[in-house]
């Protein structure tokens, strides 16, 4: 898990952590049920106060992104699958729109575009 804190940002540190973890959940680099570091070890690694990391985790839990089990720690919440899928689909739609616009600008036909899509789908 990569978290980078900026001291000069106007955003409070806990907010930066919340956003970065959310991003990683969205991108899929943090998977469902994956364990998060404890608030204390996160504070140690980021060189910030324990109360800050606790606040970040509390906020993430409030927003439904993680669950904290007493005595065990914090984990990425499962219910995000739906949310994740929907946001992913949105990203695909966005990228497809971009591709269509770019294709039209160089006069690619729909069938040429479909051909390209097929090749890439099978290759990647």
């Amino acid at each position: 898990m990569d978290i980078l804190i900026s001291n000069s940002s106007t955003q409070p540190i806990y907010e930066q952590i919340v956003n970065q973890i959310k991003d990683q959940i969205m991108k899929g680099s943090l998977g469902e049920s994956e364990a998060l570091p404890s608030i204390r070890s996160l504070a140690k690694d980021l060189h910030i106060s324990v109360i800050t990391t606790k606040r970040a985790y509390d906020e993430l839990e409030k927003q439904g992104f993680i669950v904290t089990v007493a005595g065990k720690g914090s984990f990425i919440a499962a219910q995000n699958k739906q949310l994740l899928r929907e946001s992913r689909i949105k990203i695909v739609e966005g990228k497809l729109t971009e591709a269509v616009i770019a294709a039209k600008s160089v006069d690619l036909t729909l069938s040429e575009l479909e051909e390209m899509l097929k090749i890439f789908y099978e290759e990647v």
Binding site: T10, P12, I13, Y14, R40, S41, A43, K44, H47, I48, S49, V50, I51, T52, R55
Partner: protein, 289 residues
């Protein structure tokens, strides 16, 4: 949240200084910074906790125990690092340790050896031949080698280079992984506390100004800079430590929410550091409405 340290109505008078009825509590599992200008009473407070000075009145409880009635038990569980080393300069590191180790019930030789190795402290070197940084590290090694639950530090980082200071902070981070331990860190070098501290207690002229979570403190305050006309027309509450010059004024707003109108009028609003907070609170002029 249990309190690792509780101070109630503590008073102590000297010829030219008085600690006036101070009270604050520190929860365990956290690092509390104790800030204040020189002469504000930080060292006096710590000496009173350690019973090096006798209090005039008030109550001090460490781990829930009265610090005098259970002095021996309390001191067994406290590790201390002061700004001056009080070791015998003629002895070697090893000899000094041999003198101290038997005093503590729960001395852990293995822990001590691992710290010595980590710090690169030469055991057969005489203490007078150690640099200041090494002496502090030695103090720290001893403070952390008897299973102490509370670490009290009085200006441990003054005069140390940034690398050594960073090493010491790393040790504190590692220590606080155990939520049953606590750190009480008194300093006027607030940059060390800006990131690591969970709580801040500020003292000035023998009085406690506040005892709050650090995040809250930094979020509620803002450093304000603007034109003099702005200051006169605004008539705002909650500004402290105002300094005027021919170019404008600077002040600390104690309630960031009220600075919105200042922003609209072209003032500069900055995130405060602990040093800003300490500076503005201890400046003599205040503007209250």
């Amino acid at each position: 949240m249990e309190n690792i340290l509780e101070i109630k109505n503590l008073s102590k008078s000297f010829k030219d200084f008085t600690l006036k009825n101070i009270s604050f509590s520190l929860p365990k599992g956290f690092i509390t910074g104790f800030i204040g200008p020189n002469g504000s009473g930080k060292t006096t407070t710590i000496k009173l906790i350690m019973n090096l000075l006798k209090k005039d009145s008030g109550e001090i409880k460490v781990f829930g125990l009265d610090h005098v009635k259970h002095e021996s038990e309390v001191k067994n569980r406290i590790g201390f690092v002061y700004d001056e080393s009080h070791f015998y300069e003629e002895l070697t590191v090893k000899e000094m340790k041999r003198t101290i180790a038997p005093v503590y019930d729960k001395w852990d030789e293995q822990q001590f050896q691992s710290y010595i190795e980590k710090f690169g402290l030469p055991q057969n070197k005489r203490i007078k031949d150690l640099s200041r940084g090494m002496k502090i590290k030695f103090s720290l090694a001893i403070a952390l080698s008897h299973n102490a639950d509370l670490l009290i530090m009085d200006e441990p980082t003054s005069g140390l280079d940034p690398l050594v200071r960073s090493e010491i902070l790393d040790i504190l981070y590692a220590l606080i992984q155990d939520e049953n331990k606590g750190v009480f860190f008194s300093t006027h070098i607030t940059s060390d506390l800006d990131r690591i501290a969970d709580f801040i207690v500020m003292i000035n002229d023998g009085e406690i100004l506040f005892c709050t979570p650090k995040d809250e403190l930094l979020e509620n305050h803002a450093v304000l800079k603007g034109s003099l006309t702005l200051l006169n027309t605004a008539g705002d509450l909650n500004l402290t430590g105002i300094r005027k010059s021919s170019y404008g004024f600077e002040a600390l707003s104690m309630d960031k929410n009220t600075t919105a109108e200042f922003a609209n009028a072209g003032a500069v609003i900055d995130k405060p550091t602990l040093e800003d907070i300490m500076l503005f609170y201890t400046r003599k002029e205040h503007l209250h409405v």
